[in-house]
Symmetry: C2
Subunit: 569 residues, 2 copies
Amino acid sequence: MKASQMFAPTLREVPAEAEIVSHQLLMRSGMLRKTASGVYTYMPLAWRTMKKIMDIIREEMDAAGCQELMLPIVHPAELWQQSGRWQVYGDELWRLKDRHGRDFCLGPTHEEVITDLVSGDVKSYKQLPLRLYQIQNKYRDERRPRFGLMRGREFIMKDMYSFDRDEEGLDESYRLMHQAYTNIFTRCGLDFRPVAADSGAIGGDTSQEFMVLAESGEAGIIYCSSCTYAASTEIAAAYLDKTPSQEIPEDLEEVYTPDCKTMEALTAFLGVPLEKTLKTLCYMADEKFVMVLLRGDRMVNEIKVKNRIGCLELNMAGDEEIRQHLGSPAGYLGPVGVKNIRIIVDQEVPYLANLVGGANKDQYHLRNVNPGRDFPIDDVADVRLVEAGELCPQCQQELAFARGIEAGQIFKLGTKYSESMGAKYLDDNGKEQLMVMGCYGIGVGRTMAAAIEQNHDQDGIVWPLAIAPYHVVVVPVSDKDPDQMAAAEKLYQELTRARVEAVLDDRKERPGVKFKDADLIGYPFRVTIGPKALAEGKGEVKLRSVGKVEMVALDEIVPLILEKMKKHM
Amino acid sequence: MKASQMFAPTLREVPAEAEIVSHQLLMRSGMLRKTASGVYTYMPLAWRTMKKIMDIIREEMDAAGCQELMLPIVHPAELWQQSGRWQVYGDELWRLKDRHGRDFCLGPTHEEVITDLVSGDVKSYKQLPLRLYQIQNKYRDERRPRFGLMRGREFIMKDMYSFDRDEEGLDESYRLMHQAYTNIFTRCGLDFRPVAADSGAIGGDTSQEFMVLAESGEAGIIYCSSCTYAASTEIAAAYLDKTPSQEIPEDLEEVYTPDCKTMEALTAFLGVPLEKTLKTLCYMADEKFVMVLLRGDRMVNEIKVKNRIGCLELNMAGDEEIRQHLGSPAGYLGPVGVKNIRIIVDQEVPYLANLVGGANKDQYHLRNVNPGRDFPIDDVADVRLVEAGELCPQCQQELAFARGIEAGQIFKLGTKYSESMGAKYLDDNGKEQLMVMGCYGIGVGRTMAAAIEQNHDQDGIVWPLAIAPYHVVVVPVSDKDPDQMAAAEKLYQELTRARVEAVLDDRKERPGVKFKDADLIGYPFRVTIGPKALAEGKGEVKLRSVGKVEMVALDEIVPLILEKMKKHM
């Protein structure tokens, strides 16, 4: 491709609305344009990258025995009414009517459509398992679309649905997809981690997110550098040290603790360390008042609390609600003497002794609070946030923390949709059974954006080779020098013949402009043809990822690039 | 692919709603399923064919210097309001609102979106020409979707838009696309014809349709077997024999012609041939009464009449309107003595003499009506339908007629959209100019359906090799015979290694079922491994398109298929 003909209008300014680096760089490099809020045009360079990601996905899906098909984008409401989601999905479901007034929606996901399809055409166990996928536009009418491709209203996803005879079949489908996703993100050249994820209302350890690591990521990850353990901070399990306290429980003692509403003030006033105190949190869980107890230095994980209770809504209790249930202001709360209130005890609390806790009385705390003796420990669970530096629950080595961007998620659905959509088959005994389903998604645009969040510098994008829109840009320093232009053109032709995807920057622009655009667009290799090197029969090869410049004889450039590409792809 | 794992549920029954062969066979072969009226799921086999067509399109577009991008499916109303089409497009434009009540539509075509995009990013003549395409879902909220993929509400199209500096640039873009389309349909293995098409309100000979020839086609084509002339019957030009009549004009004579309201009754009664009569048709063209004159044996082409007048609506005048303007009942109409009425004269009428025409008087006609003498011939145009057997307007050889399915159309748009959307650039003199545009579409699903309409027999589809979902099916006659299964499996592996796309029909089904499915799905090659041939170390190779069966030594089958494929691809 010649740059003079390429539709890649770069910008020098950062568009005001672009808040994150990937959005800024996609706009500046001429790869993305906004058509409406949350609705984008993928320009030719971005579309090349998208196609490369999609090709990698297709290859790995096909290799895992999946079959590609294409479901509609416009879904009839009837299917969503059958699953019950038409009513509960809310405003994010983008609804529309046809000319006859019939209801439709733009599909945000395809469980309904594909389960209906499969239930119509699959009748026998001989036809299972089925693993069906598509790559297609999806829709979510976000209230506030932002972050470019990270949270748009129209976005491109690969979605796969597995239909198995039983749980063992589902386990195998899930395992295959875990491996396929690992292959996909590896081949895309991304540093990523599959992490255990919250599976929400469905429950169980049956969902994993594939996180592309990036400092700008919205999601927190806790992982072990010694073993494979990794989980979203939302669900990361705490290691439990089951060594009981060696202390002898002492007698409860009420102490006057004026102005000690915070843990810091309390520990300073009493001269006890934070871990010798009891943290008491009060919540309203779907209208029910609940108390949660943690070691004083721990942070609560509200998702774990929510999953423990199984409630839809969980909110911190207000002053009024606390006073009504405990008769005390916040800051002096504790479990001792509490009646008819659910007390959820974090799993490490029973192993502690002689703690300082609130007395449920303004300005007073209790010393020597002992679990079991002074409050019930019959509702024990892991309800705290895990932090870097703690021990791995799997191997007891140190845990680390990272930020990431969720680019994919795999999920065991079970029979939720086969039940509501009637997806049944006859087993080898002629007995009717529900199909057991899984679903598996990858955000294609999100993967591209995440690749940029992970791979960029102050000058622009640093594409991993496998998903770069082109591999090489050849830049003659002066378009007015016929020798430079001829050498550049020759090299460009040679690269193209060697199946290296090359761009010749033949534009009538100053070298500075061409270099800036090369860095911004992020070609993995830049070959500069300048007067000095050319006089010696050489060109300057720059590897974008390391910035290093090498002077290389012109006829050695193609072999060198081919060799470096082999190493990186 | 093993048939036991393939999601291709064939049907024995013809679905009631499928009116045409392609729709029936797509449903029966398990390639297509309906999700809603006019909204379909492409099943895995169909999607393989669709991808092959799309790949061919991409290669030819890229080779012609086009760049692929991806525009949104959801369009903001503002852009359509700017072009004026939001108001005039009617009910076929599928409109929707977002959660904030803002108006959008699902794009039926992308002139607005892409012109807006290009106008924002292209400022200089140096950035032109641009040829941008995409392959994507399109929407048309048809009142009555039918014929499967031929007229759906959601369908997949390739659309390309060219932006040039001037008309010469557009000519070149148009020429390139004409060649690319010719390459595409040739590579798809289709018998097709590019034909001159009606360009509607834009006028001029600036649009061509690519018609896939098929008896079931909705469109009529007039073509010359001697030269390249081909046109839609809608606009096929009539050859004009300019030899003036040798007859001496005789005097007008009124004759009593009782019950001669039809041409047939009249010619029988008077004993004159049809071509010696004058056919008089009356129309209401946007509220205006218009008379059209043709030689008695000719058929009118209302599209030519409409284009001649430049009206939006053209309808045959009713009895009341005729009586009001001519004072006579239909059946006795003619141009003689008519005042203040536009009379459009078909171009061959001035060369005729002594015709029989209506007298505008119940039960009376006139003999010896002579053009020019008895009615004005100042509004002369080609307004008749051309039929097979007439002479080619280009080379005067005989014309033929065929039926076809419109699979693609190329179009010179000029400045219609660059004007309304403000797509301007600065030329090399720094002067602002409008970009000159073209648009070029291919219906991908329509091409697949047209391929079936053209290539099928009573047993099923007969895929052209290049777009067949798979090339070969290997059918062991009995799945219970381990020798047959082993030989079939071995052949399947060899074919796959040789990059032949093969299916192994390993299902536990009777041979009749497997053969029927093979014919229905339309694999170009079927290799049967049966007991008798296998005993001699042979397999039976059947070419679907010719039905011929050959007994071939097992180790010669792969080379034979490779050789035949080379010939057909």
